[in-house]
Subunit: 457 residues, 2 copies
Amino acid sequence: MKKRDLKQKTRKLKAKVKALRERLATATAGSEEAAAAPSAPRKVPAVSPLAPAGGFPALPVIDGVEFAVAEAGVRYKGRTDVMLARLAPGTAVAGVFTRSLTRAASVIDCAAKLAAGGDAGAGAAILVNSGNANAFTGRLGQESVDAISAGVASALGIPASRVFTSSTGVIGEPLPHDRILARLPDLTAALSANAIGAAARAIMTTDTFPKGAAAEYAAEGGTIRIAGIAKGSGMIAPDMATMLSYIFTDARIAPPLLQKIVSRLVEDSFNATTVDSDTSTSDALIVAATGRAASAEITDLRSAAAKAFARHLHAVMLDLAQQVVRDGEGATKFVEVRVTGATDAANARRVAMAIANSPLVKTAIAGEDANWGRVVMAIGKSGAVVERDRIAIRFGDLLVAENGWRSPDYSEEAASAYMKRDELVIAVDLGLGRAATRVWTCDLTHGYIDINADYRS
Amino acid sequence: MKKRDLKQKTRKLKAKVKALRERLATATAGSEEAAAAPSAPRKVPAVSPLAPAGGFPALPVIDGVEFAVAEAGVRYKGRTDVMLARLAPGTAVAGVFTRSLTRAASVIDCAAKLAAGGDAGAGAAILVNSGNANAFTGRLGQESVDAISAGVASALGIPASRVFTSSTGVIGEPLPHDRILARLPDLTAALSANAIGAAARAIMTTDTFPKGAAAEYAAEGGTIRIAGIAKGSGMIAPDMATMLSYIFTDARIAPPLLQKIVSRLVEDSFNATTVDSDTSTSDALIVAATGRAASAEITDLRSAAAKAFARHLHAVMLDLAQQVVRDGEGATKFVEVRVTGATDAANARRVAMAIANSPLVKTAIAGEDANWGRVVMAIGKSGAVVERDRIAIRFGDLLVAENGWRSPDYSEEAASAYMKRDELVIAVDLGLGRAATRVWTCDLTHGYIDINADYRS
């Protein structure tokens, strides 16, 4: 070979080496994920693709409620993990809690305090920490709750029996409550009517966005405002309550009536959602009504005023519950399951939840596969009263199955196109009666496994 | 640069290019996985890492049973998808089937034929196809079953009422039974006493290995042999039966007694396993006893002979059931959940299944995370009778929690080391009574989602 040719060859080889190095760099950046055995996290979107557009909503200030947050370092570093809400004297408090038999100390404590009634005139407070659930922590669990309640009571000058606490995060680790107590002076000093957004962030665990919802309506005598926050986003199959949610209103309503309304509304909002069929030890919903609105007091469950209040409160609860599903761990699809034609409400719910919790239905949705056979399977295993040949199944408006088999109008192409949407409706008519229900869920993706295969470390 | 140096440089660059190409090839092979969005399949092991060592076992020939397989092209190409088993005159047949309310036509047909009794003296046959479940196929479903039954009956000279069929695969697609009928002459001609291994392969769907198990023992008068096959490997939460399993024996036993024994044994074998909590529309277990053994007839459920037979039959059923779990879609860990100290059997089972079916427990196991808090959660949501402070939890022999919180002896290091094993025991003592149970499951991995996010296409 001539020297000139050799030089040219060397140049070409150098260029080749450079190109290969670049391709290798690109490939290796990818292969951090490739190396992901089940235990190594892959990239999970920073924010759920199903998050509401526009970010955290503008929530109205609720007269009589103030918030503060702090970085106590319970588990997380470099982020807020404690929120304190002060409720003015006269605030009515209601709550619904998980029925789990291994529920957390704070849940047991809140339920007991609410059952005991307590002095609404004295004011109240809610303190929530994220990072540690203080669940299955034995005697230490109640000690932590007592210490926090006493600390908050003393800082705010209210009875400890009016301090409601929640803890969310890892189960089975003693809660380092001293870290929270150490922040109480700062928290008390920082209380502000405008910090509900910061509060929504402080209670997050694996949530990818803070969750808020509000309603505002004209009642007799004046406007009533409702503002709430919630957190998810795994271990979500609420049983009598949910994850954590705190809703505030200035409505004038006595505690027993507020409790009745809240207990009734939870069934078709928080309890109608599921991410993964696993029920948290910490589920808690607390609704606080400060009574500061100029509107008339709501005194009768059957009154138009109570119905209007319930309607707006339900809208806030459902909005928050759906946001929790939209932030379901790894979720890429938001799914409404509608069941109609059931013999009764219990059977409608059994069918809806069997579909919403089926791993095979949820993985098919993740894969955008119009696998309606798995919906059939889920209906069949539900144990509900069904007759195979009366079932009709729709994906959105597309009739996919009826009379015991695939609809003659079924188009795989149309069904597959529908499955590409972010928001899906799976509708099942059982053809037997008049009962109906709706529940909400998300798909089951690699992201769920990434997040949960190595949550603690 | 001198020509010699240039030559040397060129050689070096060539070597560099070669090395970079190799590294790139390696990196790119990995990044097929990296590119795996939820919908794109990643590499799933060709054979489950939990498959029994040594491959398909040597199964004894059962006198009076012959097998044949064929490629009918029901759905799969280039593999066998139909198996025919001919059972000699005098064979007693028993069966247990899914309780799903959307069960397949063949399941309904088998159950009806067994309930009707039929003429055991006439001989019998089992025909199974893979690739299509013939479930939720309406009127066409029964027509396919009738056509296959009539075809097999005519080919073998037995009544159609003694032809038992099963179908496994996609739900909701009409079964192209003509393709099966077209292969009947070949199947009949190929019947052989030695083809049970081929039969085990022909019934596979997403299974990664064929499943067989056997027992052989000395009974009064002669040896009794039992040989069985089964298939999984998703939609596994058997309800009153399981996936598909066919067990053959030469024992002499009348159909009613055989049915009693099989129905009883299924509870602690197939019904004690779960892969994904989803119950198939096609679950079927058929046990056929040809009566060709020289041993004495088994006539009394309480006799030593019946007990010995039940013990060996149970071993075969449990072995097959566990193989199905070992081949659970995407499984990398085989998990035994032991519950002791329950107030009764139902509560023991409720706790065991809540743990075995929890997505959060199963993803933690996939991630080798000793997240015993999730076991606490699952116990809590089970709805079983439990007292938080009496629960003890062990991973293998390691005591992790007792008296309502983490054991003082708990070592995260030891627990983490234990979780790296392929086979795990999660043991829960409820501390309340004497009832106990064991169930078997596997972990929930990316592989499960890969397999199921796009099963149909």
